[in-house]
């Protein structure tokens, strides 16, 4: 069976069933709480309206909440209303001298037939009922005081409701407007009803179009002040919404019912889903667990980890894919090792370029200096002076003795020749610089050429020669490093290795040693290089007196990307260690700690290959 089909059977289907059950239960609970008479109001909270009432601006009211808000502030009372996709409007009026409310007026003609709306005003424990009615497109607004309480209603044209909570009583005032009777009946004559009237107000009438609503009620326990309750409206159908509230006091009962029932329902369904998931896990997780174990092994570097294909077709397929991936990984790793080696060579090439560039720089400048010095030598002036004398060859004694120019000539010749001598010395100095530069470039290029014998992978190499060559190369690169180098060679006869690789590694080690001692005081920058043989075979050791390696960093020395140098890239040592490993040798590192120098030991393969390739052309 396909995995995803199983997933469907064991997880998704139970989950969907559970959700349906949960939704049904929730709906039943909510309907129940509605049936027991929980009332919800759509009116916005007074605390939100009050600060704005003096201005009574018609804008800024949340359009998504169709509601009426009204309050009294000073002599003015007002109400705001809004409805989805419609204009926001405000109505207001003025309180008369006797405390009665004078009818207000609509600030904006609505132009469409609206459900009648009622608002409330809470003023010192008293409430004003504000209602309005749309008649032939014009809006009639009426304000009226009622006794202590809270009024809220939403009604359509033919039916309006107002409810006043007075302690435990509910006064329901019908505002039915069946046949042109006064729209707003006297509230004092309103019927008193118990709080939970049989067949209380129909739920569907209290519709908010936003997801959230706020309502509040007055009650003795709240000192006849408004308490806020908050809730969510849940869609029940295309035009039907349910409001679920978590209110205080009188609304608690319904909420508790809801909470208990919903909690129980959730518990049951979650248990079902968990059971189902457990079945799924039993069937599928065993093979997957074995896969995970093998994957962890691969992650730990064991590229020989494989999985036996067994069980379901899909799991077998997975096992085959896994094994193929590990094979690819194994190949990739050796490719990477080669790429890393190439990167190391690119670095060598870049270094060579840099060194040649620096030397060429001095060569260029010296050549410029020679050219300018020779131009300025003034040899043509000497020719001119000679010509001057030639012009006067017939009366030379008089010219030299009496003519001002002739008298100046002998002194000029002496001084000019002295000047020529100093110019010549300068030119010779620059020529020496040129020669030195050219020699350095030759040395760098020669080293490069010896490293360029890449095709002959294995050749009989004289370790001491190889090491000396590397030392010369680095010394040419770092002429001003002030490092004392000592080399001791006690290695036996030439061994057969990939000489260019060994040279790469030694170059890298020696360069690192130079870097390590660079910050030591002058005179203490020392590097020892040793070639020797012990039981394990031939070894090359590079020891420096430099910055050393803190023990906590030791384990990361050969890691790719690890570097302690500000401009390092962290693949020099990594590449060297890989190369040493690749040729059957090893690269080890030892340091007594930070500031105590370091020793890198390159161990070459113990037994040379039986079929060495012929040595390449130098």
């Amino acid at each position: 069976m396909k995995l995803n089909r199983r997933l469907l059977l064991y997880v998704w289907v139970p989950l969907a069933v559970a959700l349906v059950v949960l939704a049904a239960l929730t709906r039943a609970v909510l309907l129940h709480s509605a049936a027991v008479g929980t009332r919800f109001w759509l009116t916005g909270a007074a605390e939100r309206v009050l600060p704005r009432l003096n201005a009574l601006e018609s804008s800024g009211f949340p359009a998504e909440l169709a509601s009426v808000e009204a309050t009294v502030a000073g002599p003015t009372w007002g109400a705001e209303r809004s409805w989805p996709d419609g204009p926001r409007e405000a109505v207001w009026g003025v309180r008369g001298a006797d405390g009665s409310l004078v009818a207000g007026w609509d600030c904006v003609p609505s132009g469409k037939l609206l459900a009648g709306e009622a608002g409330y005003a809470d003023c010192g424990g008293r409430a004003a009922l504000v209602s309005e009615r749309s008649v032939d497109g014009a809006t009639l607004t009426v304000g009226r005081w009622i006794d202590q309480g809270y009024v809220d209603a939403v009604a359509d044209v033919v039916q309006a409701e107002a409810m006043v909570l007075d302690g435990e009583r509910v006064i329901l005032s019908s505002m039915e407007d069946a046949d042109g009777s006064p729209y707003l009946p006297d509230l004092a004559a309103g019927a008193e009803m118990p709080f939970r009237p049989e067949g209380g107000p129909a739920f569907g009438k209290f519709v908010a179009s936003g997801a959230a609503y706020r309502g509040y009620y007055n009650g003795e326990e709240a000192g006849n002040r408004a308490l806020a309750c908050y809730g969510l409206s849940l869609p029940l159908g295309p035009d039907s919404w349910m409001l679920i509230a978590v209110p205080e006091s009188i609304l608690q009962l319904g909420a508790i019912y809801s909470t208990r029932a919903v909690t129980a329902a959730m518990g049951v369904t979650l248990a079902g889903v968990a059971l189902s998931a457990w079945f799924f896990a039993r069937r599928v997780s065993g093979p997957l667990g074995r896969l995970a174990d093998q994957a962890r092994k691969v992650g730990g570097g064991d590229l020989n980890a494989r999985i036996e294909a067994a069980g379901d077709a899909e799991l077998s397929e997975l096992a085959r894919a896994f094994n193929a991936m590990v094979d690819a990984l194994k190949q990739g790793r050796s490719d990477l090792a080669e790429a890393s080696r190439m990167a190391g060579r690119a670095e060598v090439a870049t270094g060579v370029l840099h060194n040649v560039g620096n030397v060429l720089n001095s060569v260029n400048v010296a050549a410029d200096m020679v050219r300018t010095a020779i131009t300025a030598m003034g040899t043509d002036r000497l020719v001119q002076a000679a010509n001057l004398l030639a012009e006067h060859v017939d009366d030379l004694p008089r010219f030299v003795a009496e003519d001002p120019r002739g008298r100046a000539i002998p002194t000029y010749l002496v001084q000019a020749s002295m000047r020529l001598a100093t110019d010549r010395d300068r030119v010779l100095g620059e020529v020496a610089v040129l020669k030195l530069g050219v020699e350095r470039i030759k040395a760098i290029v020669a080293t490069q050429q010896s490293q360029a014998r890449r095709l002959a992978h294995r050749e009989a190499a004289d370790l001491s020669r190889l090491v000396d060559e590397a030392l010369r190369t680095v010394a040419a690169e770092r002429v001003d490093a002030g490092v004392a180098i000592r080399a001791e060679h006690a290695a036996g006869p030439a061994i057969t290795v990939d000489a260019s690789l060994v040279a790469d590694i030694v170059l890298n080690l020696v360069r690192n040693a130079y870097d390590a001692v660079a910050d030591q005081p002058a005179g203490t920058r020392e590097i020892w290089v040793r070639t020797f043989e012990d039981a394990e075979g031939s070894k090359i050791e590079v020891v420096d007196s430099g910055v050393g390696i803190a023990s906590e960093k030791m384990s990361r020395m050969f890691q790719f990307g690890h570097t302690t140098k500000a401009d390092g890239h962290g693949f020099g040592l990594h590449m060297s260690a890989l190369a040493a490993q690749g040729m059957g040798g090893a690269l080890a590192c030892h340091s007594d700690g930070a500031g105590k120098g370091a020793r890198f030991t390159l161990q070459l393969p113990a037994s040379p290959p039986t079929n060495p390739l012929p040595r390449g052309e130098p």
């Binding site: 720089n361 001095s362 400048v365 002036r381 120019r405 000029y412 000047r419 140098k565 401009d567």
Partner: protein, 168 residues
Amino acid sequence: MSSEASRVLVIDDNVAIHGDFQKIFAGPPGPEPWLADAEELLFGCSGSEPPRRAISLAFAAQGSAGVDLAAAALAGGAPYALAFVDMRMPPGFDGLEATRRLLRQDPDIRVVICTAHAELGTSDFAALGRDRGRVGFLRKPFDALEVEQIAEVMLSSRELGTGGHQRG
């Protein structure tokens, strides 16, 4: 052109390069005055060179030392007008970083980055942002003409107040 010598800082870990800059900006020694007088008398004209821009050079072997030197000179009221900065200066930070710091601490300074190989690309240049008008590049190996020419361009741009977002 100001009558005072322009102060130029060379930051390069290779002291041979310091010597190169010194030789370039010192130029050939002019003829001694008496020699010039004698030539004037004998040949009717003197072989003296056209006047050169006066440059006073300072050197640093590491990026950090160079940046500190420039900061001190700026604080002392005699800032460096131009710095030649080598790209690779192990073990400290590289020339690009030194350049960024120099540009940041002195809104007037001009910097020429010297590099021996193609390790810098247009993206590095773009990354210098609106400061890139104050930066030049010089490929090693350079010759005397290139150095004198780029120094002249950079020093002129500083005197004219162009190429950067400096104080003016």
